[in-house]
Amino acid sequence: MKNSLLFDFTVDKSNNTIFVEREFEADKSLVWDAFTKQEILDQWWAPKPWTSKTKFMDFKVGGRRFYAMVSPEGQEHWSVQDYISINPKTNFKYVDAFADKDEKLNSELPSADWDLNFTEYSGTTTVKITVKHKTLTDLEQIIQMGFKEGFTMTLNDLEILLQHLQK
């Protein structure tokens, strides 16, 4: 069943936007919780072997989530998400920006506008995420940083594969 779930990922360089769409085999309220409750969010937000660590999350308009992506070596990359609008179980928007461990915003790294939409059809929930950056340079910087994480991940996959081969 898992393989038939829709996954779409596109990067539109003409308007500096990343578009991600994914189906989940769960009802909307459960998927909504997974995106909006810190104890669930931290279980999946960081792609392994990275982990997500939320210091606080005040999920309301004007509220903030202050969290870190922690590398396998224990290096912490802090960010904030400031909630702009919330329509329960349908949509929420936030601005994502990089920060230091004391919650001081880093103006050198690009911020982005996130827009998340939730719809349900007969037990399957579709999540559509739009991440809009201010400039193409910003988007490319993010992709480049993502490449770093992705690369770590690939190395980890390789390690697992090697362990299997040794058996």
Partner: protein
């Protein structure tokens, strides 16, 4: 100054040059004719693309021709592919979390 690929791609004129070169190798003069800016400006763009190894130059007789460095362009595709993979893994993890949540509910 270190030139990086993403900085090179960030400029619309440079992206237009890459698009032009995607179909054929061209001389600097032929490239410059496609743009309203000065030849000097276009030549600076070409220079930056060359420094980033996105385009390569070849001497043919008395003329220099520029063409795409396909290998480098593929590298960029790979970067995007990695980024996509991050999202994929993240969502696979969420699938598992949702499964556990559903079980606990029952």
């Amino acid at each position: 100054m270190r030139r990086d690929v993403f900085q090179a791609l960030a400029d619309p004129t440079r992206r237009a040059i890459l698009l032009l070169l995607a179909s054929q190798a061209m001389t600097p003069n032929a490239i410059a004719e496609e743009f309203h800016t000065s030849r000097q400006a276009v030549s600076k763009h070409i220079q930056m693309l060359t420094e980033c190894e996105l385009v390569k130059q070849e001497q043919q007789g008395r003329e220099i021709y520029y063409s795409l460095e396909i290998k480098k362009m593929k590298e960029i595709d790979k970067w995007l592919e990695h980024f996509k993979k991050i999202w994929e893994n993240r969502f696979d993890q969420l699938d598992n979390v949702l499964l556990t949540l559903k079980k606990n509910k029952k």
